[in-house]
Amino acid sequence: MVLHTPPRSLVDAAPAVLKIVIAGGFGAGKTTAVRAVSEITPLSTEEYLTEASVDVDSLAGLEVKETTTVAFDFGRLSLPDAPVPLELFLFGTPGQDRFVELWYDLSRGAVGAIVLVDTRRLESSFTPVSFFEDLGLPFVVAINQFDGAHRYHPEQVRTALELPVSVPVVTCDARDPNHVAGALLTLVSHAVKNASTDPAHPAPTTSLQDA
């Protein structure tokens, strides 16, 4: 089926929309982080996913397509005082393999991702980390400091997740807006750095010198 481009209103221009993905394992604090900076109570949104599953009744173990529902969080904030009026959308999404289809949708045109890590369940961060690495989407790792949990040094987490030195690893309290805003700022700077080193996306200063 041919998809049509929706009709556009010609009246007042809307603020530019930017999106950031917050990924992490179950209980890593994704909803908490979204809530800390969002202007609305985070909304839990559902979407259908089609996934291959092995039919247990079949002796041949045939793969069948099954439609399941997954939920992700949505939050937003407006930045009317930015040089250009902006609205930032935050998508909080679980870290399992079965969410990959949704991650593609969320990552398209996104600023980048924050992978929120609970050091007690470090293994749940591997899937999102390798997904964003493979996709080439800028991401930062934020260690959520839970009360009473052992505090690992960011470099220990970097080693455990086999992250290159270029990926920022920060520690934060997902409940604290100043911490989450700091993690967002770290991601934005990282994305700028990525964009300027990407030959397909030169920094504006380069194009000015060339002109």
């Binding site: 049509h4 559902e46 937003r76 250009v84 290159p164 920022p168 994305a191 964009a195 920094a203």
Partner: protein
């Protein structure tokens, strides 16, 4: 939505299916982050009450497809089908965004837009934790 067992779940599914009259694909190319404004048209009497809800929400302010789905507690695909119907009757329109907003789907937002985001975040949270930069 409180679940009353399997039967309730099934009836929700049937209701959802009826809502879109069996359609599983929206007619328009809509992203999770596509924002919608109320237009000059109105939802038709034959359209489900959810269309009225969507229209009312967009009349209050601009809303994204994801936000509408979250508020209606309906799956995103279902909401996209309903939004397509509302676009057809001009009850909804996709607002023209700022020219700077032309984000390249492959490369991501422009460096100008990223710089604006950084400045906007710093203004909103002047006490944001400044983390040392890696690499």
């Amino acid at each position: 939505m409180s679940a009353h067992g399997h039967a309730a779940e099934e009836s929700t599914f049937v209701r959802t299916y009826t809502l879109t009259r069996g359609r599983t694909r929206p007619r328009y190319l809509l992203g999770l982050e596509t924002v919608l404004d109320a237009g000059q048209g109105r939802p038709g009497p034959a359209q489900p009450e959810e269309c009225e809800e969507i229209f009312a929400l967009c009349r209050e302010r601009r809303r994204s497809v994801t936000e509408l789905a979250g508020r209606l507690r309906r799956p995103v695909t279902v909401v996209k089908v309903l939004v397509s119907d509302l676009l057809d009757v001009d009850a909804l329109v996709v607002p023209l965004t700022h020219p700077y907003a032309d984000t390249d789907a492959e490369c991501g937002p422009s460096t100008q837009l990223l710089a604006a985001l950084s400045a906007g975040l710093k203004r909103k949270w002047p006490d944001a934790i400044a983390y040392p930069q890696a690499g």
